[in-house]
């Protein structure tokens, strides 16, 4: 194998590759990137067995071939080479080593045979549809903060994507929850997605997907079965296993009968919560919202730090209520709301509260109160 790649192109491809490759690997070849030099197209692949990425990079191939080299090492080398470098790769006779040359630098990397590189099992991906980059970004951004990190409830360690109806309109929905809060985002159902199974995208896949989405404006081709999903970009293809579990019946926990409606200016609210939370105990981050006609009082007390209180204007006409929340959760949600107004729909101090953008109903958040 012999080829030349321009540094910037290689670096961009390797940046995606190296974040898929785990830092610690018990299986040596999983630490490697597979370089496949075709006629005048070069592809780079990496996998952690659950998630695989293939990047296409432009390059001049003098002699086709395949080889694998340590991904992080290669990334570090390419990162440190001067901008504009032309990087040459060449395998030695026995394929046990790869020589990399750029300008006056020369590196010899130990290689592992390309035949040993694991391939993601094939199988049909019967459901195919297209998503605009912006739409997919929104689905992820509005929900991913609520993903659970607790391994015991592994079926919550991702975003649940499914097709359903919302007030008579067919929608594609993304839902994530950690049991304390829930985030639900929806968009009009794209053609081809009518019969998709409900699937749970793993957290790591979402993080990698999100990085790729930052660099594109074009539409993404999505294909999935009930065990695997593939996202095809212009220059990259991400294939991932899905979480093998059942997402809980989340509709059940979204209250519909809450009657106490509070509206606040979202920015003012977030800033006040942030200030008051300075005092809240490190562990609970609990703040208390005391709501009465036209006014919201946010307060926190901690046996060590003291107390804080702040009043803000609010639209509220119901009976007075006091309810406690984790300040961090309030801020996470406030950050998702792009409009001016945030609407809280509450029942009582022990029942879930619904939060929405007052002007946009596509996203919905449910928040479990805390005992304060």
């Amino acid at each position: 194998m012999k080829l030349t790649i321009e540094r910037a192109a290689l670096l961009k491809g390797l940046a995606h590759i190296q974040s898929v490759v785990e830092r610690r690997n018990t299986i040596p070849i999983l630490a490697n990137v597979l370089i496949d030099a075709g006629k005048d197209k070069v592809s780079l692949s990496a996998t952690d067995m659950d998630l695989a990425i293939v990047e296409s990079v432009a390059g001049q191939v003098a002699k086709a071939g395949t080889v694998t080299v340590p991904a992080h090492t290669l990334y570090d080398i390419v990162r440190k080479l001067p901008d504009g470098s032309q990087i040459g790769f060449e395998t030695a006779g026995d394929k046990g080593q790869v020589t990399l040359r750029a300008g006056r630098s020369s590196f010899t990397l130990s290689a592992l045979p390309a035949e040993d590189f694991p391939k993601m099992s094939g199988g049909e991906l019967p459901h195919k549809f297209e998503l605009a980059a912006g739409d997919l970004r929104n689905l992820i951004d509005r929900t991913r903060f609520a993903i659970s990190l607790e391994e015991t409830r592994y079926y919550l360690n991702g975003i649940y994507i499914h097709a359903t109806q919302s007030s008579g309109v067919k929608v594609l929905r993304a839902v994530a929850t950690d049991g304390h809060r829930l985030a639900r985002m929806e968009m009009p159902l794209p053609a081809g997605a009518e019969n998709i199974p409900g699937v749970i995208l793993p957290r790591k896949t979402i993080m990698e997907l999100r990085k790729l989405l930052d660099e594109t404006q074009s539409a993404i081709q999505v294909a999935l079965s009930d065990t695997r999903v593939r996202f095809a970009f212009d220059d990259a293809v991400l294939t991932s296993k899905l979480i093998d579990g059942t997402f809980p019946d989340y509709e059940r926990v979204i209250p519909t009968g809450n009657d106490k409606v509070l509206e606040v200016d979202c920015k003012t609210f977030a800033e006040a919560v942030d200030r008051v939370a300075t005092i809240a105990t490190e562990k609970t981050r609990a703040v208390k919202l005391a709501v009465q006609r036209g006014q919201l009082t946010i307060s926190a007390t901690s046996p060590d730090a003291g107390s804080a209180i702040e009043e803000i204007e609010a639209r509220y006409t119901g009976t007075a209520i006091e309810i406690g929340f984790n300040a961090r959760y309030l801020l996470d949600i406030a950050q998702q709301i792009e409009g001016d107004g945030a609407r809280f729909t509450m029942a009582d101090a022990a029942s879930p509260t619904v939060v929405q953008d007052a002007a946009d109903q596509s996203a919905l958040y449910v928040l479990m109160p805390m005992r304060v």
């Binding site: 690997n25 018990t26 040596p28 015991t152 304390h180 109160p369």
Partner: protein, 438 residues
């Protein structure tokens, strides 16, 4: 610094009276007390990492408590399980060893005295031994009841003598105050310290210095490296690597190229290097419960049945103390006594039996695989007060569990523990107890 000593005898000390022996001193016995138990090694002043192992621990304690057993072969073990827990050194001469089925052991050594294990007694002796270790250094990492690593670096100034002399003192104190003997290994890495303690058993003191490590490891089989199991051994053998010397000959680069990160790890061990440090027990303030089975168990479900009551016990203790824990620790002991622990940290502290169970059960399912086990234990670590524990959950597992457990706790407080139980903890017999309480 030590190093070469021009061919003369290296420096050392007397293992009985702890008197130092100068380098070059041509003596066979201690000039001070006349003991022949001298320990000499060129690097003796520089080595500070030790592994200490009590010799035939259970059997030695039984012999201590019954002097009539002193000269007889003693086997601790038996019961319905029918395997040897510990054999004394006399019994070992007949080929008896730990984890051997009792009938085989008695065939090899029919005259042996068989004693049922008395764990409470051994645990008490273990506490005494650990107290003596703790007086030598705060950096004590217990591995089991009868085994620990000690890091004595920086203790010279405190004790006014070398680490080797302090360790000889530890051995002497254990003999005097606990009445059993220990074997000490002194070196510069955990791996070598353990190896050194095995070189000179019983009542031994093995030393492995930096200069000799490579030569000493060379002829040993690769299986001598802890972590090299049968599978890896076979794989290495297939590549023509049988002895540690074969690894040394290949060198770190070739090993890394061939086996990746594992190759790098093998290269470290092949030269005696072991980056692990001595970690004093952090879980000392956790709350835990464990049970030894009437007979060895295998598979998830039989062990899980033993696990549930332990979760309830731990939960009850937490609730009583007003505490909650964030890390669930599962402990398993294999039929051959090897210990297996698994730990998982939760998103928030808990004191609910249901959540402890959920987590411990998941850990159990991932840990048992094949094999037989004699003990299971569960504990909670990272304790904090219960106010931040088990916050309300949308999917109400925690919320409902909290309500259910409060109800169960209330019934038990009034009618006794047997009055109510979850289906999971139900055993024939428990219901009878409940009836009589009416």
């Amino acid at each position: 610094m030590s190093g070469e000593h021009d061919g003369g005898p290296p420096p050392g000390l007397c293992r009985d009276c702890l008197a130092p022996i100068e380098a070059g001193a041509e003596v066979d016995r201690c000039p001070r007390c006349g003991s022949a138990r001298l320990l000499r090694h060129p690097e003796i002043a520089d080595l500070t990492l030790a592994h200490i192992d009590c010799d035939a621990f259970y059997a030695s304690i039984e012999k201590r408590d019954d002097p009539a057993l002193a000269d007889r072969p003693v086997i601790v073990g038996g019961g319905t399980r029918g395997v040897v827990s510990t054999a004394c050194y006399i019994a070992r001469r007949f080929g008896v060893h730990s984890a051997m089925p009792m009938f085989k052991a008695l065939k090899a050594c029919p005259q042996a005295v068989v004693i049922r294990p008395d764990m409470a007694k051994y645990a008490a002796a273990s506490r005494q031994v650990r107290a003596i270790f703790a007086a030598a250094t705060p950096l004590v990492e217990p591995v089991s009841l009868d085994e620990a690593y000690l890091d004595l670096s920086g203790t010279q100034a405190v004790h006014g003598r070398s680490a080797a002399a302090v360790l000889a003192g530890v051995a002497r104190d254990v003999e005097r105050h606990v009445g059993i003997t220990v074997s000490i290994g002194l070196s510069w890495s955990k791996f070598l310290a353990k190896l050194a303690s095995e070189m000179d058993k019983p009542r031994g003191f093995g030393v492995i210095g930096r200069a000799e490590a490579t030569a000493l490891l060379g002829p040993r089989p690769v299986r001598a490296i802890p972590g090299v199991g049968p599978k890896l051994d076979m794989r290495l053998a297939a590549d023509g690597i049988r002895r540690i010397g074969d690894l040394q000959a290949l060198g770190p680069e070739a090993l890394r190229a061939r086996y990746g990160t594992m190759g790098a790890w093998l290269a470290e061990r092949a030269f005696g290097r072991d980056g692990r440090t001595v970690e004093p027990d952090h879980d000392a303030r956790g709350i835990s419960a464990e049970t030894t089975f009437a007979r060895d168990l295998e598979g998830v479900e039989p062990i899980a049945a033993e696990l549930w009551p332990l979760c309830e016990t731990v939960s009850r203790r937490l609730k009583k103390a007003g505490l909650a824990g964030r890390s669930v620790v599962l402990k398993l002991r294999r039929a051959d006594f090897r210990l297996l622990t698994r730990r998982r940290t939760l998103a928030e502290p808990t004191q609910l039996a249901e959540r402890i169970w959920e987590t411990a059960h998941a850990l159990l399912a991932g840990a048992v695989g094949t094999g037989r086990f004699r003990l299971v234990g569960v504990g909670l670590a990272d304790l904090s007060d219960a106010t931040t524990a088990d916050t309300p959950d949308l999917f109400s597992q925690a919320t409902e569990s909290r309500a259910i457990e409060q109800a169960i706790d209330a019934v038990r407080a009034k009618f006794g523990d047997g009055a109510i139980t979850r289906g999971r903890g139900f055993r024939p017999g428990s219901i009878r107890r409940a009836k009589t309480l009416r």
